[in-house]
């Protein structure tokens, strides 16, 4: 199976926020988490992930800092801000409504 479309138009922010809700993570960890949590159905392109992270950081949803990992490697770690948490809830609600609506349409036609 080929790669899924890039994180399902517009849902990348939701996925990233959701992953970070579990705790701070760097870019590679976020991408891996999404891939594994979706059983490799969703794979995030790096070309989309990193710009999105920067954008969300500027929007005040995330905060980032450089940190040294246990394997002694410098990584840029992102964590959710209070605003990010609020956004996660909003996005989750919105997504659920969209998914429900889409499901209803698919069933009825």
């Amino acid at each position: 199976m080929g790669r899924a479309p890039d994180a399902l138009n517009g849902s990348l922010d939701l996925l990233v926020l959701r992953v970070l809700a579990r705790g701070p993570a760097h870019g590679y960890a976020i991408a891996s988490a999404i891939a594994s949590a979706s059983a490799d159905l969703l794979r995030v392109e790096e070309g989309s992930l990193y710009p999105a992270l920067r954008r969300m950081e500027h929007d005040g949803l995330l905060r980032a800092e450089w940190r040294v990992t246990e394997t002694n490697r410098r990584v840029r770690e992102y964590r959710l801000t209070a605003r990010g948490r609020e956004r996660l809830e909003d996005e989750r609600t919105r997504w659920q409504r969209v998914a429900k609506g889409v499901a209803l349409v698919l069933r009825s036609v």
Binding site: H26, E46, S48, Y50, R54, R73
Partner: protein, 885 residues
């Protein structure tokens, strides 16, 4: 918040890029680590991680877009690009900017002057309805007689008729006194002509009726300069030569009278003068006036002119003065009328004198601007030819055409901005310098500094031309970059080589012409300066004296007054010597009189100068025979004269003159004048005219008509100039006069040579500038030639041609272009002699010496221009060129 944090990131691009690079690197390493743990070899794991990541540059570019403000980033990269290109091409950037700035600036400045003097419409409604009227006697234009104004008004051909004259009167405002251009007016000079009032009321014809109060009208500029725009100006008076005039109004802003170039300050009615001022004028029926009229809207100019011509003899008959003798009356009645469009003001000779050289120089400046533009184009083409490979490489790497065009525009933006700023400075400075120079010779000179529509349109058009050249040309060429051909060949396609050669040769020709002209005027000026005046100008100063208001009243005894004055000035020991003269040296001496031996019919024209005793000593003008005048000379004694050596020779031949008698002019008292001395020849009039034969008459033997408004010539002690304060105090002490102008004799000579100075300096500047432009043009062309033919040179070298041979090929081209241009230039300069004499109204005769100087300069410039390209051509690397092919 997001905006500001983005802005901060954009402002620190290096830190941001490092951050991105590190984050991407850490991502790849993390993935590689994971792959190693899955069992892949480290190298393979890293390669796989890298390949999985995709195009790293593209990802980082997108990160940059999200992590900053794109417009700030673009600006930053533009500035960086700009800085890089400026550093690389600083010399040609400065050259292009400088030549265009000077070209545009000089052109706009001269256009402003020529337009202001000759073509700018007067600031009144419908100026094209104005008509200037004059009469013509023989070939000479003559103003109309004052009574003619009323006569023309009565005919009702015009809506308004205005008569004006100009006089320099001493005007006292508060405690300050100065000679001011006062314009007595009659008829309908203001409201009916469409002139508005800014404050109070305007003058009408009724104000000139006998018995009416003395009232004056200020111009807006004079109100602001003399009264600082005070609102209580209508409560103020001005003292015009002893008569107090109540200010009743101020004209609308921008209106400075009808004589362009000589802005009016004060208008008074012509007619009801008090006695003091009346003495200025001849009887009213002999007073001449400039006349300007407004034709009825709807009447065609030709029809109005025909009606004037039709009525002209009746007007002449009705205005001929009974005071005129038969001959003069006949001459008056033979005058013809001249009806001219008056939209640009009165046709005063002054305007032509300054305006025509300005037009001539403007034409030269336009040619020069054209040369500057051609050069800029050539240099820019050469530059863009050199850069096409770079642009092609960038295009191949993914830069869009839009980006390349933007960069080309950005790259040339400093040139445009530099041209705009430089041209403004050049234009303003030029106008200021020329205005100040002209004011030195004609203190009344002035021009409105307001920019009207044609000036703005001209300035904008010229600047746009520069813009199109500077920005559009390179941008257009960059937009036509072709990756394939431009990467494989550096050749520039398009543009006929022969045309470019011809253009540069034409530039060389024009430069030679300008250099010849510049050299001619410079040598002419130098020879005028080197001409010995016959007296020593060092430490010699001239104080021109004017009457205080009422200073020359009925009780004024001029003889006694001036004896006292000379005593006071010389007595204090502050000056070496002092004397009076009616018209000081280096000024047009208009008094030429027929002089002959007493009792004989034949006579010769001599300049007549009225001087006091001590004049020759003050000037250090040697008395070669006889003696000086004496202070005790009286009008009633036998009149005495001193002749210059030339004059003595003209009147008496080789026979001694002292002790003999001459007649001077037709006055009865001057029919038996004793020659008491002979002095060395001197330049008493304009320096251009050289020494003239002079008959000096004793100042003391003539009345107030000759003596008033004299000049005091003063020589300082030792090496110091005369003490200005002491001279002023001595003049002020009488309470009748004041020093209106205080000037060094050398300075007077400079002022008298102002036209020559301007022609020499401007044509000199133009010549040097043209030389610079031609050098740049030649350099641009040769550089382009070397770029275009680099491959050919490479092949030639590979086939055995020496560097010297290649250098000779380029040098040969230079000789061809410069030679052709120079020949054309010399021929044109030869043809120009007559033309220039006509345009400038001064004899021009350019000789082989002038041509020689021009050629030497041109050759030196050609050598300088070709040195770089010749060196570059001779150092072509054949291998590199062939590889490119």
């Amino acid at each position: 918040m997001g905006y500001f944090s983005r802005l901060l990131r954009s402002l620190r691009p290096d830190a941001r890029d490092r951050d991105h690079r590190d984050e991407v690197a850490s991502h790849i390493e993390e993935r590689a680590e994971a792959l190693i743990q899955q069992g892949l070899a480290p190298d393979a794991a890293r390669a796989e991680a890298r390949s999985h990541f995709g195009r790293e540059i593209r990802v980082r570019e997108r990160m940059r877009e999200a992590d900053g403000l794109p417009w700030v980033d673009r600006l930053g990269s533009d500035v960086e690009h700009l800085w890089r290109s400026l550093r690389r091409d600083a010399l040609s950037t400065v050259a292009i900017t400088g030549s265009l700035a000077v070209g545009v600036g000089v052109t706009v400045g001269l256009f402003f002057l020529a337009h202001s003097l000759l073509y700018r419409p007067l600031p009144v409604p419908a100026p094209d309805e104005l008509v200037a009227l004059r009469s013509v006697e023989g070939e000479n234009p003559v103003p109309l007689l004052a009574p003619m104004v009323q006569r023309i008004r009565d005919e009702r051909i015009f809506d308004a008729v205005c008569g004006l004259l100009t006089l320099s009167a001493t005007v006292q405002i508060d405690e300050r006194m100065s000679p001011v251009a006062v314009h007595p007016m009659t008829g309908d000079c203001f409201a009916p002509m469409g002139v508005g009032a800014a404050v109070g009321r305007l003058l009408t014809d009724d104000d000139g009726q006998e018995g009416r109060p003395h009232v004056a009208l200020l111009t807006w500029e004079a109100w602001h300069r003399e009264f600082a725009g005070r609102p209580d100006v209508l409560q103020q008076t001005v003292n015009v030569d002893g008569t107090r005039y109540q200010i009743v109004g101020v004209t609308a802003r921008g209106f400075t009278g009808y004589a362009v170039g000589q802005p009016a300050q004060l208008f008074i009615p012509f007619g009801n003068f008090a006695d003091g001022l009346r003495a200025y004028f001849p009887p009213p029926d002999l007073q001449v006036m400039e006349v300007i009229a407004r034709r009825r809207s709807g009447d065609a100019f030709a029809a109005v002119a025909a009606r004037v011509v039709d009525r002209w003899s009746a007007w002449l008959d009705g205005t001929v003065s009974p005071r005129l003798q038969d001959g003069a009356k006949r001459q008056y009645l033979q005058r013809r009328v001249s009806v001219m469009p008056g939209s640009t003001g009165l046709p005063v000779a002054f305007r032509d004198r300054l305006g025509r050289p300005a037009v001539a120089l403007l034409m030269v400046a336009v040619v020069m601007l054209g040369m500057g533009c051609l050069n800029a184009a050539n240099l820019l083409l050469a530059r863009s030819a050199g850069r096409r490979r770079e642009a092609a490489v960038r295009a191949a790497m993914g830069a869009s055409t839009r980006q390349l065009v933007r960069e080309a525009i950005v790259e040339n933006l400093p040139i445009l901005l530099g041209v705009l700023a430089g041209a403004s400075v050049v234009a303003i400075t030029l106008v200021q310098v020329l205005t100040e120079r002209y004011q030195q010779s004609s203190p009344a000179f002035g021009l409105s500094s307001e920019l009207d529509q044609p000036v703005v349109v001209f300035a904008v058009s010229v600047t746009l031309l520069a813009w199109v050249l500077v920005l559009a040309l390179p941008a257009w060429r960059t937009s036509r970059v072709e990756v394939g051909s431009d990467l494989t060949s550096p050749r520039v396609v398009g543009g006929s080589q022969r045309t470019r050669y011809a253009l540069v040769a034409a530039q060389v020709g024009l430069t030679v012409v300008l250099l010849v002209v510049g050299t001619f005027f410079a040598t002419q000026l130098r020879s005028l300066y080197q001409r010995e005046p016959g007296f020593i100008t060092d430490r010699l100063w001239v104080a021109q004296l004017s009457a205080r208001p009422g200073g020359y009243d009925g009780a004024f005894d001029s003889g006694a007054h001036y004896r006292d004055l000379v005593e006071r000035v010389t007595m204090g020991g502050q000056v070496a010597s002092a004397a009076l003269i009616r018209t000081p040296p280096f000024q047009a001496q208009s008094w030429v009189v027929p002089v002959g031996q007493a009792g004989r019919a034949e006579d010769v024209p001599l300049s007549q100068a009225f001087v006091t005793d001590g004049f020759f000593e003050t000037l250090r003008l040697p008395v070669v025979a006889g003696h000086d005048f004496a202070r005790i000379d009286q009008p009633r004694n036998r009149h005495v004269a001193i002749l210059s050596q030339d004059a003595a020779r003209m009147v008496f031949g080789d026979a001694p003159a002292v002790g003999r008698f001459i007649r001077v002019g037709s006055a009865p008292v001057n029919q038996q004048v004793e020659v008491i001395g002979v002095v060395a020849d001197a330049i008493l009039g304009l320096p251009q005219q050289g020494t003239t034969p002079v008959v000096y008459l004793s100042f003391w033997q003539y009345g107030a008509a000759v003596q008033t408004y004299p000049s005091l010539v003063v020589r300082g002690l030792d090496s110091r100039p005369p003490d200005r304060q002491a001279v002023h105090a001595a003049v002020d002490a009488s309470g009748r006069e004041y020093v209106s102008v205080w000037r060094a004799m050398d300075n007077r000579r400079d002022a008298a040579l102002v036209n020559e100075y301007l022609l020499a300096s401007l044509s000199g500047v133009f010549g040097v500038l043209a030389l610079l432009l031609a050098t740049l043009g030649l350099y641009g062309l040769l550089r382009l030639l070397v770029v275009e033919r680099a491959a050919e040179f490479g092949v030639r070298v590979a086939l055995g041609a020496t560097a010297g041979r290649i250098a000779r090929m380029v040098a040969g081209q230079t000789v061809l272009i410069v030679g052709a241009g120079a020949v054309a230039g010399v021929v044109t300069a030869g043809l120009l002699n007559a033309g220039l004499s006509t345009v400038l109204g001064t004899p021009v005769s350019m000789s082989a010496a002038h041509v020689g100087v021009a050629m030497v300069l041109m050759m030196a410039a050609a050598l300088a221009a070709s040195a770089g390209p010749v060196r570059r051509a001779s150092s072509v690397n054949p291998l590199e060129q062939i590889r490119r092919e």
